[in-house]
């Protein structure tokens, strides 16, 4: 991997909740403009790793984080940084979609307004563009001012994606974005992520191995809070080195 293409790098990252360690000495590099899948059994720290990239863990209590997380060459764990600016670079799509308690239009306009100016015409164009981008425009163009909660779960997830890209992030963090969706909606999201990796670095936490195999360029395998194996998807899936990864691939552990 060429050095310029690294989006996020962690050095000796440790995270603990209530004094029990969740992530132990994580050292990884995540390539830019590619789709990186974080896989591993439930409860092994996948989501925690994902949420450490935009310092989202800090809004919970009793979290201790140490080590470096380098984004664009700068350690985001340095104290005194403006945290909203760090988060702005990373959109988050969570397991269950949480639209904001506003209309469909306002959901997308929210991020545009707080970061890119309030000019009504530009906001309107931006909303249109982002909804087009996630394939939601035609479905909602006649009811833009309806509450977002009236959309189906699959539509809500795509709305969350539109809302995230409206902020113009560099990275899109996805925390099992398809696990609450029906197969068709899930496929739509997968296709979108593949499309979006042209412009964004996509990091996908998933516990379905098949999904990782379908979409990932790069894979990080976590096991009990440690990175057991990471590398190009082909290499990890076809030629696993560690016994844990082999067991996970063969379905002995899931």
């Amino acid at each position: 991997m060429s050095k310029s293409a690294i989006q996020i790098e962690t050095r000796g990252l440790n995270v603990s909740f209530h004094n029990s360690p969740v992530l132990k000495d994580i050292n990884i590099e995540i390539p830019a403009k590619q789709l990186t899948a974080i896989i591993g059994p439930s409860g092994c720290g996948k989501t925690t790793l994902l949420k450490s990239f935009n310092r989202l863990l800090e809004i919970q209590e009793d979290v201790k984080i140490s080590g470096e997380i380098i984004v664009d060459g700068k350690d985001i764990m340095t104290s005194g940084l403006n945290v909203p600016d760090i988060r702005k670079k990373m959109g988050l799509i969570s397991q269950k979609p949480y639209p904001l308690p506003m209309s469909i239009f306002e959901n997308v306009a929210y991020g545009l307004r707080i970061h890119h100016g309030k000019n009504p015409k530009k906001v309107e164009e931006g909303v249109h563009h982002c909804l087009q981008e996630v394939g939601l425009w035609n479905e909602v163009k006649d009811r833009l001012h309806d509450p977002a909660s009236r959309l189906s779960v699959g539509q809500q997830q795509r709305l969350c994606l539109a809302r995230a890209i409206a902020v113009k992030p560099e990275v899109i963090l996805c925390d099992e974005p398809t696990s609450a969706l029906d197969p068709i909606a899930a496929q739509q999201i997968e296709r979108l992520l593949l499309k979006l990796k042209k412009d964004f670095t996509v990091i996908l936490v998933t516990h379905t191995l098949r999904q990782a195999k379908r979409v990932a360029d790069y894979v990080i395998f976590l096991y009990f809070g440690m990175v057991v194996e990471h590398g190009l998807a082909d290499q990890v899936f076809n030629d696993p080195k560690s016994p844990e990864m082999k067991a996970y691939l063969s379905g002995e552990i899931s």
Binding site: I59, P84, R87, L92, S149, A164
Partner: protein
């Protein structure tokens, strides 16, 4: 189950019907449109429009002040701002404040009033006592509704790069709106109906107050005065006033339902 239902509904119907039967018959248009005359308490004519206005002038500003203070406290009580061991301590304090009898707030306001050299009561100190009375009620109600805002929703707002302030103002506020509305109206309902806290602080008057330092009549205090009179016709006036107060509280409760429903349109479940 039936017995508890019967006790609750029975006592409600009993109270309301006694007030309506006695109140509605002695209520006249004159009473609603005129201010009190000299010996209103002794059975002469006039009305209690000054007390209706007085009550609103006490309860509306008190609710506004209490609301502003309460929302700030409630927002600040959330775990993004202070550690939960502090917030739970503050919550206990608020619950104790909620339990303090309102006469104590009245005496407290009176003590300050006397210390400042003011005598005889004023609208200002009535508002002060009512504000104190309403703060714990509104704060706890708003606090509860903010506390149940889903964590995932807050995460969504934060990961869009909103600051804590923007998240509270634009996202948490909207999600908690029904609880906030309910809190305001709960506080107002308590404020307008409470007699003890204003008994010692607002004095009495036959006229509309023209400044915040004027004395004023208020619905709960004139009920107290009228009901204590020996004459039956005067006592019935107390029922008439109670009837008006009941109508005000009832309309607040209807308003609460309407606004709660309206503001829950965008809520994320």
């Amino acid at each position: 189950m039936l017995a508890s239902l019967a006790i609750v509904i029975g006592s409600l119907i009993l109270i309301v019907s006694v007030i309506v039967l006695n109140g509605a018959s002695s209520l006249s248009l004159e009473m609603l449109t005129q201010t009190s005359e000299g010996s209103f308490y002794l059975g002469s004519g006039g009305g209690f429009l000054n007390a209706i206005v007085g009550s609103l002038l006490l309860a509306l500003p008190a609710t506004a002040f209490a609301f502003i203070i309460s929302v700030c406290i409630a927002m600040y009580l959330q775990k993004e701002f202070i550690p939960s061991r502090f917030s739970s301590f503050i919550r206990i304090c608020l619950d104790i404040m909620w339990g303090i009898p309102s006469i104590v707030y009245g005496v407290f306001a009176l003590t300050i009033m006397i210390a400042l050299g003011l005598h005889g009561g004023s609208v200002l100190f009535g508002i002060f006592a009512l504000t104190l009375l309403e703060i714990p009620i509104i704060t706890r109600s708003v606090d509860e509704s903010i506390k149940v805002v889903p964590h995932g929703l807050k995460e969504s707002a934060y990961s869009l790069g909103s600051t804590r302030f923007e998240t509270s103002l634009h996202v948490v506020r909207r999600q908690a709106m029904p609880g906030i509305v309910a809190g305001i109206l709960l506080g107002f309902g308590r404020g307008i109906g409470d007699a003890a806290s204003i008994l010692l602080t607002v004095g009495d008057s036959n006229y509309f107050p023209t400044s915040v330092l004027d004395q004023t009549a208020a619905l709960p205090t004139i009920i107290l005065n009228l009901a204590g009179m020996p004459e039956k016709t005067v006592q019935n006036k107390a029922y008439a006033v109670a009837f008006v107060l009941l109508l005000i509280v009832l309309s607040i409760s209807i308003l609460t339902r309407y606004f709660t429903k309206k503001s829950s349109k965008y809520i994320i479940k």
